[in-house]
């Protein structure tokens, strides 16, 4: 099948539910940012040390979950297309919490703000964290604007909140694993 159709050449695109909307529509902004997050995660993954197998596995799951989430954001809640979507697992957020706890076990307790940076893989993880936070902001805007009681969007909202935390802890974990100490903020 062709990647392009030219149907978007005049600034509109189709949602998964078929509606034609401008490319700056709040729903497009929301899943576009999710796409950006997934791409940045791909960059982080490309820098991950090979021996960190459990983190590689985390990333495969996270990137797949973000695809599912993107489809939900691309579908209007009243559409019959909803029936074709796959809900995220009910445990996605708690699964991440377990991973955050596991990574945090080897880290010193955080008592001060740290500056984003350090090893390239950790610096990219911080970038991913901030893109994730933007995704969250887009999503809350979409939920408010669509005024819809959508349980799946609520699940995605919690997931993104937890994913930001995971990426923060991951950055610290990777810096430590690669021998770089946290750089704290000095007033």
């Amino acid at each position: 099948m062709k990647v392009y159709t030219g149907g978007g050449d005049k600034g509109k695109t189709s949602l998964f539910s078929g509606e034609r909307v401008p490319k700056h529509h709040i729903r497009i902004e929301a899943y576009g940012d999710l796409d950006e997050l997934n791409s940045v995660l791909g960059a982080v993954a490309s820098y991950l040390p090979v021996e960190e197998q459990s983190i590689h596995q985390d990333f495969e799951e996270i990137q797949s979950n973000l695809f599912l989430a993107g489809a939900w954001l691309a579908t209007t809640p009243e559409s019959s297309a909803i029936s074709y979507l796959t809900p995220l697992s009910a445990t996605v957020a708690t699964d991440l919490e377990r991973r955050i706890d596991a990574l945090s076990e080897v880290l010193p307790v955080l008592k001060e703000f740290i500056l984003p940076g350090g090893q390239p893989v950790a610096a990219w993880s911080h970038v991913a964290r901030t893109v994730c936070r933007r995704c969250e902001r887009r999503l809350t805007g979409l939920i408010e604007a669509s005024n819809a009681d959508n349980n799946e969007l609520a699940v995605i909202q919690v997931y993104l909140n937890r994913l930001s935390d995971y990426l923060f802890v991951l950055a610290r974990y990777l810096n430590q694993a690669l021998g770089t100490a946290d750089k704290t903020w000095k007033k």
């Binding site: 062709k2 159709t5 189709s14 539910s17 034609r20 019959s80």
Partner: protein
């Protein structure tokens, strides 16, 4: 290269005209799909996407294949003997029917008719189908489709000398028919065919009937 998840064996090949044939293959019991989806067929290192012509409940898998000049895979598929084994991916794609209270239009050119055959033979009714072809023999499955559709409109864009004698025939491209006949309103459109058709139809509908939903799949 697409991941090969299934092996299918060729059961039969039926030529529909000089350049298009139907390939009928075995269905792996665990293979699931929705009407309108496609798979990647892989054979001897070559691969290409083909929409399933069969409805989801079918016992065999049928594909509508155009023999492309210089096309490596279609050339091989055109010469396979029964029993030949092909690799196949999982089902993919989103040109699947979404139930709606709006009037539904299917628009297909050439072998782009395949997803709509799958939907119609799977029991879908009540749609208007615009079927574009350049030759009389290019209106594949027209009897089955006309029986299922609320309105079946063959659009003939070939040489007028060989113009077929079909009920409700329109002489011109599918896009011309829509531009001439569609009243402004809210519709659900499903487009499958060439990039040019999809681009022109999409831009026209955006302007003529804003609010219309459009689902599309383009191929070479």
């Amino acid at each position: 290269m697409a991941a090969i998840l299934y092996s299918i064996s060729v059961e039969k090949r039926v030529w529909l005209n000089d350049e298009v044939f139907e390939l009928i293959c075995s269905r792996p019991p665990e293979f699931q799909f929705l009407a309108g989806q496609y798979v990647t067929i892989i054979h001897h290192g070559e691969e290409r996407d083909y929409t399933l012509l069969s409805p989801p409940g079918a016992t065999a898998l049928r594909f509508l294949i155009k023999l492309v000049a210089g096309g490596k895979l279609s050339g091989m598929l055109a010469n396979l003997v029964p029993g030949s084994v092909l690799g196949m991916s999982r089902a993919k794609g989103y040109l699947i029917f979404r139930p709606t209270p709006r009037p539904v239009f299917f628009v297909a050119t050439g072998v782009g008719i395949a997803p709509f055959v799958a939907m119609a033979t799977g029991g879908l009714r009540g749609f208007t189908l615009l079927h574009g072809a350049r030759t009389d023999s290019g209106f594949f499955y027209r009897q089955e489709l006309a029986a299922a559709a609320l309105h079946y409109i063959p659009c003939f864009s070939g040489d007028n000398v060989s113009c077929p004698d079909l009920p409700s025939l329109f002489r011109g491209y599918v896009t011309e028919y829509i531009k001439d006949h569609l009243q402004p309103g809210l519709y659900d459109f499903y487009l499958c065919g060439s990039v040019a058709m999809i681009r022109d139809m999409t831009h026209f509908l955006d302007q003529h009937s804003p609010g219309t939903r459009i689902y599309s799949e383009a191929f070479d």
